[in-house]
């Protein structure tokens, strides 16, 4: 209130007005950041506590003694290594597949006649709105028919549609921003469509490729429901399922569970931090809802 009064009467220059506001913003921002990181910090701290220790009576920001033994133990309690291998197999196949299908489709959509393009955008947006619930039962039958049920295939096949309609749209928006004249020129020079896509199209949409890589990594790496629903054979379990196994086997060994949670979370966080720039910027440019 006092600030408002001051503005009306004195009309101070923007600089003097903003200085205290700026540090208030910084303090509030740091507080918010702390609030959002705190749960993750607790996860790490808990994972370093030796098993079987009684609960701490005071705030313990660092366990004493700290140990990494839980990280070794989880690999013995459940076949964590095999599950990790399965997760990696899924990631290294589904992400290239996603990049391929989304970029091909986005490239094509940027060049088809306007009416067809609008129809495709409408279809993708509608597909985005279909709740997962409406398809999870019946996908079971589709997977069975495709013969991928109970294999890693159920986690890879979604790459065919670009993992999510949103990623196809992101690619489309990126290609639409690229100068279409360069594609036309190459076509007049006799280059084939796949060649134009590869050597002229793709280099122009690197940020979008990066964004789709990160988004689809987070989606597939953390995918818990699909393996839970469509994979019965423990041979093909992935890391998120391993975590649930850990919880069921040792429901009160929090340090073990938290160590498992850290192992599953770490790659997702590292990828996010490395790619944060592209990731956040792409949201900025390719407004997903326009």
């Amino acid at each position: 209130m006092s600030e408002r009064a001051a503005e009306v009467t004195a009309q101070p220059t923007p600089r003097t007005r903003r200085r205290p506001a700026r540090s208030i913003r910084l303090i509030a921002g740091v507080l918010a950041a702390t609030l959002f990181i705190l749960p993750l910090l607790w996860m790490v701290v808990a994972s370093l506590r030796p098993l079987g220790l009684p609960m701490p009576l005071r705030i313990q920001w660092w366990p004493d003694p700290a140990t990494l033994s839980n990280y070794r133990a989880i690999f013995h309690v459940v076949p964590m290594a095999r599950y990790a291998a399965n997760s990696v197999i899924v990631i290294v196949t589904v992400i290239p597949l996603t990049l391929l299908t989304t970029s091909l489709a986005g490239f094509a959509m940027a060049q088809v006649p306007a009416r067809m393009r609008d129809l495709l955008v409408a279809t993708l947006v509608a597909a985005l709105m279909v709740p997962l619930m409406a398809v999870w039962l019946t996908r079971f039958m589709v997977y069975k028919w495709l013969g991928v049920l109970d294999t890693l295939g159920v986690l890879i096949v979604p790459g065919l549609m670009g993992s999510s309609p949103l990623y196809v749209l992101i690619m489309f928006w990126a290609f639409r921003r690229a100068p279409i004249g360069s594609f036309e020129a190459a076509r007049l020079d006799g280059a084939s469509a796949p060649r134009i896509w590869w050597s002229i199209g793709l280099p122009q949409v690197r940020p979008a490729l990066m964004a789709v890589t990160v988004l689809s990594f987070e989606r597939h790496w953390g995918n818990f429901l699909d393996p839970l629903l469509y994979i019965n054979n423990p041979r093909w379990y992935t890391l998120p399922v391993a975590l649930q196994g850990l919880q069921q086997l040792h429901p009160s060994d929090w340090p073990l569970m938290m160590a498992g949670a850290v192992v599953v979370t770490l790659p997702a966080v590292v990828v996010f931090i490395v790619a944060q720039r592209y990731f956040l910027r792409e949201y900025d440019e390719g407004n997903p809802f326009q």
Binding site: E7, G29, P39, P131, T138, G162, Q276, F289
Partner: protein
């Protein structure tokens, strides 16, 4: 040609399964014998299924609770942090971080935070005088368990936050400054300029969040409460899941899925009508 993989994938994984749900809803199907036509039987059964209404009510309460607090949180954080400044990259990244944590790890983390014995929140017990309902016991009571699930999912508001921040950065700075020079208070600038310009994005976030919220709490529910205590968190998706997976009643599950879908559509339509009225009233 270049579109064919995506179109094939969309057809196989979204269009066909979504359409298949419709006829399935009118049958009895256990995935072993072939489906048996029931007509409206499944829907008639639903009318007498207390668990169905319990789940529907819990889901609606959850959406009414989670969507507004997530939106408000994302909006406040975006307003606070959209301008460039010291430490912004770190702060924005930190706020987004819980959103990238895999669902299951995230749920286990909160199970740890809410567990009565080893909860890191227990150190705050003396602040409450050691009495009353402490966070660590929240999962043991129906109402507080519902609140707890909503709190857990509040932390994953990263997407709305980033989208709102991007929209705020697109608002021409000169517009805000000239309003301030004309003597508009900060509150007036916010309500007369910033919020109306944000309105389309706010609306889209509300729509998207509503659709997702009906199912977003599924993993958290399975891990944190398993539908309890006393079915307080047996949200509709959870009950559908139990019918399909545990009871092998795919037809009934499909029928409930259709109802859930219809409820979602009605919720979106209602929001649309309300917002349209608000906007037209606003510009008059």
């Amino acid at each position: 040609m270049m579109l064919s993989p995506v179109l094939l994938g969309l057809t196989l994984l979204i269009i066909v399964p979504a359409l298949m749900t419709i006829p399935l809803a009118f049958t009895r199907y256990d995935a072993l014998s072939s489906p048996e036509w029931l007509g409206l039987g499944n829907f008639r059964e639903m009318l007498h299924d207390g668990m169905f209404f319990n789940g529907l009510r819990a889901s609606l309460v959850y959406v009414l609770l989670a969507v507004p607090i997530r939106l408000l949180g994302a909006l406040l954080l975006a307003l606070l942090l959209h301008r460039p400044g010291r430490g912004r990259t770190f702060i924005r990244g930190a706020i987004y971080l819980p959103t990238v944590v895999p669902d299951i790890a995230y749920a286990l983390l909160w199970l740890y935070i809410f567990n009565p014995l080893f909860s890191p929140l227990n150190v705050f017990l003396p602040l409450f005088g050691g009495r009353g309902s402490t966070p660590a016991g929240w999962l043991l009571n129906g109402t507080s368990a519902q609140v707890a699930i909503a709190i857990v999912l509040f932390w994953t508001l990263g997407e709305g936050f980033v989208l709102l921040m991007a929209t705020l950065q697109d608002i021409p700075r000169a517009m805000l400054e000239s309003a301030a020079i004309d003597g508009a208070s900060r509150w007036q600038v916010l309500t007369r300029i910033t919020l109306p310009m944000l309105a389309p994005m706010l609306l889209l976030i509300i729509f998207r969040d509503t659709i997702r919220s009906f199912q977003a709490n599924f993993v958290a529910t399975v891990i944190l409460t398993n539908g309890g205590p006393y079915y307080a968190t047996s949200y509709l998706p959870f009950w559908i899941w139990q019918n399909a997976i545990d009871y092998q009643r795919f037809g009934y599950a499909a029928a409930m899925t259709l109802v859930l879908f219809a409820v979602t559509v009605v919720a979106i339509a209602l929001q649309f009508v309300v917002v349209r009225r608000w906007r037209t009233g606003y510009f008059e």
